[in-house]
Amino acid sequence: MPTPLRLNVNGHPVEIEVEPHTLLVELLRGPLALTGTHVGCDTAQCGACTVLIDGQAVKSCSMLALQAQGRTVTTVEGLAQGDGLHPVQEAFIACHGLQCGFCTPGMMMTVVDLLTHEPQPSEAEIVHALEGNLCRCTGYVNIVAAVQQAARALAASAGSAP
């Protein structure tokens, strides 16, 4: 039975009716047409569907849409502010941290969560944070490099902020 759902997605209030069994990723990719969030498996292993719920990285295939009731969801489409790319997006491009780009949105959302909670992660912490995100193309070499570059960029911009 369709049930009312109110949440905030990428800064916009959303009011919609969903079936109780609808997964968050199905809501995002379907009715909300936010197709940057991907589905790469059916066992919550690949992490391609990772989004932020109130700033925390969550696999949106493993959560019902109704569980996001009243919460704030950020998808890859909501990362960039204004015209510029988010420093994590910028770092993935600069470091060649993506090849096919399918895992990249989920990977970046995990990284945003990491750098929010640990602005200067060690390599071991980066690798640990990425355990739930699979990439088949890059061998993770340039992904880890991109995380390190993004951390430096965020630190520099925080330092230069008034």
Binding site: F102, G139, V141
Partner: protein, 782 residues
Amino acid sequence: MSASLEAGRYGSGQTVRRIEDPALVAGRGQFTDDVVLPGQTWLAFHRSSMAHARIIAVDTSTAAAMPGVLAVFTGAELVAAGVKPIANAAPFRRGDGSPTATPPRRALAHEFVRHVGEPVAAVVADSLGAARAAADAVWVEYDELPAVADAVSATRPGAPALCPEAPDNIAAEMRHGDAAAAARAFASATHTVSLEIVNQRLAPVPLEPRCVLAAFDRSSGRLTVRLSSQMPTGVLNGLCDAIPELTRPQVRVVVGDVGGGFGMKTGIYPEDIVVAYAAQALARPVKWVAERVEEFTSAAHGRDVVSRAELALDADGRVLALRVRSLANTGAYATATGVAIQLLIGPWVSTSVYDIGVIDMHYTAVLTNTASTGAYRGAGRPEAIYITERLMDAAAREMKLDPAELRRRNLIQPEQMPYENAMGQTYDCGRFEQILDRGLALADWAGFAARREEAGRRGRLRGRGIATFLEWTGGNVFEERVTVSVTPGGFIEIFSATQAMGQGIATSYAQLAVGVFGVPIERIRIVQGDTDRVQGFGSAGSRSLFTGGSAVQVASERTVARARELAGEALEVAPADLEYAAARFTVAGTDLSIGLFELAAKQPEARIFIDSTSAVSGPSWPNGCHICEVEIDPATGAVEVVAYASVNDVGRVVSPSIVRGQLEGGAVQGIGQALCERMVYSADNAQAISASLLDYALPRADGFRAFRTEFDTRVPCTTNRLGVKGVGELGTIGATPAVVNAVVDALDSAGLGRDAERVQMPLTSECVWRALRRDFGPSPFA
């Protein structure tokens, strides 16, 4: 305008930001499942739960009556409608001279199922949920038959047969070389070594599952099929071959972003035919998107070859002969590519960078109750090179020689180029000793003893492995058509039938075009994946840059040449008097000039258009020296890669960061085969055991990343005008033997000696822990 049309540092050889990336990092990619058409319906498959059975009945009545269901299709209905099996065009033979034997691979199973996950029925509904629920409700009555999962068991007398044409389950076989000469060489050899070697079955696992969206337009009668594929034209041809009365001009295949291919998305799949057929039958858009379990059980797997391999050497360590007997598991349906990869393409590189004159190889393609094997990154070359490099190490161990020194004594020398190997393949160029020397220096080969000793003090077993090798690239399709359109709006559009799948080929092509046109990279638009624009072989076998890129280079130059003629007419001067730079023709010594885009606007069609077909003259032979060091924790058997140095002869380099990304990302896939990946079917009933990402071990971020990777660009390829060599598979091919040789070396150092060579991939901690306790499991031929 000229100031803004400086090419800048975006030409060939420069590290550039990929033109693919801004959309992908913003979530604006266009993967097939991102596209939704008005009136779209969803298709779901009912798949076989049995590995081998006769289909008694398929009851679709419950499914058809469920809410939202629009149609249910079965194999019997498709056969009645005239849908043909996928053509098996492999020109191979069985031992008795009869053609390749395989059961017919149908869009939907008919009369028999032959592997778990084979599609049996398809449901189309107005929602994905309804389609999947109804697919579950299809009821199939089976008469279960005995099943066989591995090639050795399948070739034993009394094994269950998959089709009457092959009571011995042998789809095809091929012998190469001179068996009598090899027998003489082995008889006269001072040293011989023999190994049993398993190249285990792998799942390619591009992160984007397959997806097909087909739409039939009644008014035009055209069928547009959008899917994730490396070979759009091959899919078009496959659809028209299978579906009655569907003609090639009727079909358009469109490919958007492809979330990884690795060979798995080459050619046509049964599911593609069903989706296209359903869209035509219902005259509505139909979409199927695979779940991961469907990918593990019905998409192509790679490798799965069991070999007995032998090397004969003289007293100085010169290889006298190579003898290989291999059983290659083709799965239930022997595909043309699956057979060719194992019977032909692998053997082409078996003698590798070594001057081995005598070979005796017998390759047998075997049918089993498993998913079909096909192309997976390297496709035959990783299997062959792994065998050869394991043998070289075994020979060095037997002779108590440095494995690098043994390799050096056998390398083909530059003055032997062009070199025809024992399979009749001609290497155009290569300086293998130069690559070996640089590899040894980069890896500090001489300093290994100290590192081993230091590791020993930490209680670790340290091993070192080397692979010197080459590979063949090209797919042996060397001609490529490219069209170029210079528009008045200031863009140069380049259409190619090669296919982007994450390798960054659009960026590399754009760099080449920048070099010819002298315009900023933003002015170049690379368009791929539309059979209405250009048709061709597609992207496989690391052919895109050296074949497709060369064609882009030629087409771009032809465009400038044509524009020069047009500029001469416009300015009323001889074309030879015109100088071209930065999208402008200038009459030499004057300020009289016309811009390229301005010129395009003046044309009757308001564009300058070139339809260009060109060809390279042969394959490319990239090669390398990969050296790996590992450490084993003897308490757990866990293997850690601790150093990896590689020197790669890749010819000229267009995009350095892309080449490095291909080599290192590819190497991680090769490490995956060495240490963790294995597609497992149960021996007794051929159930797929590792059919999820929970069960199939992919490399994760905590694996090895500290690669030291060098390119050697001093030996440009001579078969293409760019001088480039294919790089998509080189890293994968080198990594597997380098890692395994290092593990075997570490086990040898623990006192196992040549027994260490009995380990088989993947070298999991369990495997290595057991090996340290002299438990190697049964022979693969047992």
